[in-house]
């Protein structure tokens, strides 16, 4: 999900020097067209490799940064059951980041390089995680809307052309289903609770609705690179298609909760068999992407601080491992 078609392309492939090399892109495209999976050591155009590295690492960064807004409420979860469920969910997100870093590493970039890109601010991650979690209801909204949108985007990627990415997505999708249910259940409990709890739920929906539908990225009409990603079967559906599907599924869920989606233009169009919805304020999206969202600074600072504070630990572990190796060598 957290792959908003941000900055998805590297340079065009260098013209072939030999006839044999010149045939490679054609053969590669033929494999893609035949729904064959590309594996790590297979020949691939450099642009395909770079696009994937950027998309997969952005996806991984999003999972890691995504641990923070929800992690913010672990110590304050209002029941022991909610606490363990939330810990398990955030832990899953960390695990998903790991599967994705692992998939990206098969393309020739190291975890250390990717982490450095995130911490320096060079790498992007999904803008949704730059919003604050101000109440317990935000946790419900995130599970219901943000994970809901993520699932919508992730299922098609299970069939993407690059084997390790597709396999990571299959594993992630299997684990993701409880995330959305846990969020919806929180919203349901609040919506059926006291007036203060109902107001808390409505307030969270008011703040998380528009950022969630912005997660799908700008309209494809404004995105020049969708076509190439589609041809390489990295992207399987357009941003607009996925966004429409998400709204069509989610609006009835909000109605069930007795909550109001903060879009006055939202209405069911019987003829089109879709929900019509109001205009998205893309200026907010771009501002957040540029680093001016509510929590961009805090999120990166938290990751930098963790990384810096952990340096002596990581070094100690390596030093110990080396000592053990030398001891084993002497004993041999």
């Amino acid at each position: 999900m957290y792959t908003q078609a941000l900055d998805t392309h590297g340079k065009e492939p260098v013209p072939a020097a030999t006839a044999e090399a010149g045939a490679l892109p054609g053969r590669f495209q033929a494999r893609i067209d035949a729904e064959e999976k590309i594996e790590p050591k297979d020949w691939m155009p450099d642009a395909y490799r770079q696009t994937l590295i950027r998309q997969i690492s952005q996806h991984a960064h999003s999972e890691i940064v995504g641990m923070l807004p929800e992690g913010n409420w672990i110590t304050r979860a209002p029941s022991l059951k909610r606490k363990v469920v939330l810990i398990a969910k955030v832990q899953d997100e960390g695990g998903h980041g790991m599967y994705l870093y692992s998939a990206a590493e098969t393309l020739g970039i190291s975890r250390a390089e990717m982490v450095a890109q995130l911490l320096s601010g060079a790498a992007k991650y999904s803008s949704i995680f730059n919003y604050p979690t101000l109440t317990w209801a935000d946790l419900g909204a995130i599970g219901w809307l943000v994970d809901g949108a993520a699932i919508m985007n992730q299922i098609p990627i299970c069939r993407c052309s690059y084997g390790p990415y597709a396999r990571a997505m299959v594993r992630i999708c299997k684990e993701e289903s409880f995330h959305q249910r846990q969020g919806f259940e929180i919203m349901l409990t609040l919506a059926q609770g006291s007036p203060a709890q109902r107001a808390m739920a409505q307030d969270a929906l008011n703040r998380w609705w528009w950022p969630s539908i912005m997660m799908f990225g700008p309209s494809d009409a404004d995105s020049k690179h969708t076509a190439q990603s589609m041809r390489w079967k990295i992207k399987r559906f357009s941003n607009d298609e996925l966004r429409q599907k998400f709204i069509d599924i989610t609006a009835p869920q909000a109605h069930f909760l007795g909550l109001t989606i903060p879009d006055e233009e939202l209405r069911w169009d019987e003829a089109a068999q879709h929900y019509q919805f109001g205009p998205i304020d893309w200026s907010e999206f771009h501002a957040v992407l540029k680093g001016n969202g509510p929590c961009n600074r805090e999120r990166l600072e938290a990751r930098r601080a963790a990384h810096a504070a952990g340096q002596w630990v990581r070094e100690a572990a390596m030093a110990h491992a080396e000592k053990e190796l030398r001891r084993a060598a002497r004993a041999a």
Partner: protein, 95 residues
Amino acid sequence: MSTEEWPLFEVFIRSRAGLEHKHVGSLHAADARMAIEHARDVYTRRQEGVSIWVARSADIVASDPEEADALFEPARDKVYRHPTFYAIPEEVKNL
């Protein structure tokens, strides 16, 4: 490369007795004992494992896709290795 960077390990899990170990992904660890623990924490949270193998990625030897033709193509035309190649009359049992 900084001195603190932990090496990459590939992880193989046997999900049930009777099945073989399957490659599930990779992770970073400073040593083999830690790699086993990490593999357990990352890949067996949903009771997906009874046995874990970890191997340093640098130690894995892989066949070269460039040689795929030479390595794998010759097996393609030896269809006599497959049971469906042989026509056995239906009346004959247990073959």
